[in-house]
Symmetry: C2
Subunit: 339 residues, 2 copies
């Protein structure tokens, strides 16, 4: 429950490249023709357990099955014609790759996605299904970055980073803008923390709208670089990629770290067993499919008494996972592999 900076120490300034309120509103208008305005669902059961009023923003129902489409779409459609014509590129094997592929397809430009040779076949197929070109590389971060640099040099494509990019953060912020419009007088916005695009967007959206909501982060205990880094006041490297919340294995980038530090955001951590059990609870009680990463803020919301009597918006980040490997069947394996 520690705040990252004691009350007497001044908070750092916003990073100079943080998107402005006007850029957030422009992003909302830019993506409106392409992105879903996702529904906000409620659950009497979860309200009863938590004593809070919970409002779930269902980005699992977003196109591509994740909020990532918002940021990719804003980045792609913000490019001028000449730049866009040379295409976009990224290295990712997750939701961002699919999101960028779809956004590029909608604009009618090329997308180059650098993927390690050991990426799952299903993810490759999904990216190819949206018409992107996959460029293979060895399964190391160095190989990914070198290969991406080659692709950019050869094609003139614009790199769209999954979170360390103001256009992407402005796009992710639109989820919170919509939530604030749909649910007045929120006391809290709970967001998962991986690379930090969604939660830094939430901070900026709350500030842009002058809302009173406190933004609280939720992070796997096995990937607690943000909780620990914000406490220490320094950006940390990612933890070993062990958590079943695979969307949250990345560490904060400079932009997201700077936004969260400026806003003094508090981060709560969640253990693997609780992530798995909460994923199942959401499926069972809300009848929606969420990936483990999306269950992390739900687990925080359901902590007895933590938000009693408060109105809490919960950003459900996505719903992409392997339906043959249920998280609550694999959590034990994931846990034991970390010991």
């Amino acid at each position: 429950m520690d705040r990252p900076t004691p009350p007497h120490s001044p908070r750092p300034d916003l990073p100079p490249n943080a998107p402005t309120a006007a850029e957030l509103e422009a992003a909302a208008a830019r993506i409106a023709p392409h992105a879903h305005r996702t529904p906000v669902l409620t659950s009497r059961t979860f309200d009863g357990w938590s004593g809070a009023s919970l409002f779930f923003k269902c980005e699992n129902l977003q196109r591509v099955g994740a909020f990532k489409f918002r940021g990719a779409c804003n980045a792609v459609f913000a490019l001028d014609e000449a730049t866009a014509a040379r295409g976009v590129a990224t290295h990712s094997s997750g939701n961002h790759a699919q999101a960028l592929a779809l956004a590029a397809k909608l604009r009618g430009i090329a997308a180059h996605v650098v993927m390690p040779t050991d990426a799952p076949a299903a993810k490759r197929a999904a990216v190819e299904g949206y018409g992107a070109r996959i460029v293979n590389c060895a399964p190391t971060l160095e190989a990914r970055e070198a290969t991406l640099a080659e692709v950019v040099a050869a094609t003139g494509a614009t790199e769209v980073h999954p979170y360390d990019d103001p256009r992407v953060v402005a796009g992710q912020a639109t989820a919170t803008l919509e939530l604030l419009e749909e649910v007045p007088e929120l006391d809290v916005v709970l967001a998962p923390v991986g690379g930090g695009g969604l939660i830094s967007g939430a901070c900026l959206a709350v500030a842009a709208r002058g809302a009173r909501a406190e933004v609280v982060g939720a992070e796997p205990a096995l990937a607690d670089d943000a909780a620990e880094g914000l406490r220490r006041g320094e950006r940390l490297a990612p933890r070993p990629p062990k958590t079943i919340a695979d969307g949250l294995r990345t560490a904060l980038g400079p932009l997201s770290f700077g936004v969260l530090a400026h806003h003094g955001v508090r981060i709560e951590t969640v253990d693997e067993e609780t992530i798995a059990a909460t994923t199942r609870l959401v499926w069972e009680r809300m009848k929606i499919v969420v990936e483990p990463s999306a269950a992390v803020p739900v687990a925080v919301a359901l902590r007895p008494g933590a938000f009693a009597g408060r109105r809490v918006g919960v950003l459900l980040s996505g719903g992409n996972l392997d339906l043959d490997r249920l998280p609550w069947h694999n959590a034990g394996a994931a846990r034991s592999s970390t010991r």
Copy 2:
């Protein structure tokens, strides 16, 4: 694709106990304070595959996880005070039992649910969780009916049948009333067929609102009593309970059979493998949890060319199932057990 009655033969009259248009509208008003107005979702992927415009009425997001709450709620709240005070009763181990238990709890009256001793513990716990009294009986239909008669004699409770009851059918019809309000100019309403409460309600709702939509039924091939019975013009007994779409194992009742025969409803059948695969597709592409029974009309909607260019409402009946036994893992077992 056969119509149940040839064009030259007159269709039978509506059963005299079929609820009227006014009773449907009264049901909508009666349950409004208690039931969710469930969202209508769309899927670009499914629209692309089918060539149709599909509108999914998400009764899996209804209270209790199924449309059954509508009928039970209308039946319970339609009782006069003196009758209600003596409670309600049913024999069911499925969604109707939970629905009746919750409706009775909301009205503050007793619910007696007769259940066979071999009913799954999870279902017993769910019914008890809503405060109903479970009365055990031997696992035969005779024992169920005899035990229910005893309960009714001893308590004066009103029996609420899961589908052969005009108040229940009027309640189920409200799902289609809402769908017609939400989506103008529907060409087709696709509904699953078990006991027939939901689909007979759909027929009556379309007629009550003067809508042009054709109501089409979807039934497991392993439980095709409605398809075959309507073709022959006689109500058939239920098939052996083999289909994984366990909500659709029951046969039509006199009321639902009469309504469907009067409206000349066409019923399409779906094999087990397709039901399982379609259940998975809905989870994977729409990110919502549906039970196999709800996937049956989706499978019909996705038949190539079947509804191309038409606007089709699909009633997703519910989302209750055992999350440790995925339908697409068990379909093979279910199939082989029928051979």
